[in-house]
């Protein structure tokens, strides 16, 4: 059980994460995901609780045990990458290296992550995706027991995010390092994690495999998206409502009764039975 006060909100959770597994803390911002990750890393102290990793007690408020962050051996990838501006890419990674005689490890990672040509650049000279890769390598070369990823891809555009998701997955499959990801992106959760823990207002409300957790919705409609109303065209009997879902605009018809409480700007669920949508191969036209 871990508790922490963050403003007025309380975080109260009891959870286990598989050794060697890939787990995700999922939830809205403010649900306590990042705080939970920081507590595991030792960057935030909970008011009371107990943390044990691989048989080693990291935190126990009853016995006044609090292993300092430096000794916890976690790899942490921050949302803002947190690369040291005074060091080059290579120096950033070397700084993390526990054994300075293992320079060849750096070369291996630089090559694997496509960073070879950038090793002598300062972080402020490279792109967001490249920064993210450097941050990932820096976290990994310190040979951590757990890899903690705090919304590592949220600042990147969609294409880059997909590419980096592949790389994270590749690294995970190669190293089999126990990984905890904080995310609010459903596709990311499905793609990467074996287990998802859903946090709402400081509590874990659901946990399990992603498809178990997210298919058990209350509405049986399978064709279901959340979007925002951008336009309402009144017509006789039926009105035409334009809803933005992601980057796509869709049109849905509705009766006056359905429209009664809705206005432009409202968030809506657009749902249909899975039987209705037509499916055709997309040829780019």
């Amino acid at each position: 059980m871990m508790h922490t006060s963050q403003g007025q909100e309380w975080l109260d959770v009891d959870l286990k994460v598989e050794k060697g597994g890939f787990s995700t803390f999922f939830g809205e911002s403010g649900a306590g995901k990042t705080t939970l990750l920081r507590i595991v890393a030792g960057l935030t102290d909970p008011a009371e609780g107990y943390i044990e990793v691989d048989g080693e007690v990291w935190f126990d408020s009853k016995r006044k045990i609090n292993l300092p962050v430096q000794q916890r051996k976690v790899g942490f990838v921050f949302q803002d990458y947190s690369l040291f501006p005074n060091m080059t890419v290579r120096e950033n990674i070397r700084y993390a290296l526990a054994d300075k005689n293992q320079e060849n490890i750096i070369d291996g990672w630089l090559a694997a992550m496509d960073l070879k040509g950038l090793e002598h650049e300062r972080p402020q000279k490279i792109s967001g995706g490249q920064k993210q890769r450097v941050a990932l390598v820096r976290a990994l070369v310190s040979s951590p027991k757990i890899l903690l990823l705090d919304e590592p891809l949220s600042a990147l555009d969609v294409n880059l995010r997909l590419k980096l998701q592949d790389e994270i997955l590749k690294i995970y499959q190669k190293t089999k390092i126990t990984t905890i990801l904080v995310s609010h992106d459903l596709s990311e959760v499905f793609k990467l994690s074996q287990r998802v823990l859903v946090l709402e207002q400081g509590k874990i409300v659901k946990s399990g495999q992603p498809h178990e957790v997210f298919s058990n919705q209350n509405l049986s409609g399978k064709f279901k998206f959340v979007g925002t109303i951008v336009d309402i065209q009144k017509d006789a009997i039926l009105s035409i409502i334009t809803v933005q879902i992601g980057n796509n605009l869709t049109k849905v018809v509705a009766t006056d009764e359905e429209l009664k409480d809705l206005k432009v700007g409202d968030k809506v669920v657009v749902a249909s039975k899975a039987f209705n949508p037509l499916l055709m191969k997309y040829d780019g036209r």
């Binding site: 017509d235 009997i237 009766t255 039987f275």
Partner: protein, 135 residues
């Protein structure tokens, strides 16, 4: 959105789908969902559910004879008809609950629908969604 509340009385499942029968004041409605009792906890006999279906999916029949594949067909009385342009909105009284059907204005004329007429309304099983309370 038409809504009716009822209770699940029977569930018949294949590997990934279920046919759910719901009792609404003695009438049995059917709904096909892409879930089974294993994947969806709300799929339990005795569970209260709300049936939802779009107005445009409700068909109206008068003096129907012969056989039809639609399983959800129930009697109702027309409360009012409002025709405008190519569409017509028909308000039905079904067991004192209002069911709305949007059909083409041509059909409304062809069927000679009038206030007070006894008709049958129909909705396909795959158009009926189930909504449960959280939990």
């Amino acid at each position: 959105m038409n809504k009716l509340t009822g209770t699940i009385v029977h569930i018949e499942s294949s590997e990934h789908m279920s046919m759910v029968d719901v009792d609404v004041k003695g009438d049995i409605f059917s709904s096909i969902v892409l879930e089974t009792p294993e994947t969806a906890s709300y799929l339990k006999v005795g569970r209260a559910v709300t049936l939802m279906f779009k107005e445009t999916e409700v068909s109206i029949g008068k003096n129907l004879s012969g056989q039809i594949s639609l399983r959800n067909r129930f009697g109702a009385v027309i409360r009012s008809i409002e025709a405008s342009g190519i569409l017509a909105k028909v308000l039905l009284d079904y067991q004192s609950v209002q069911i709305v059907s949007v059909i083409s204005a041509r059909s409304a004329v062809k069927l000679n629908l009038k206030k007070g007429d006894s008709v049958e309304w129909l909705v396909k099983t795959n158009e009926v969604s189930l909504l449960t309370e959280k939990g």
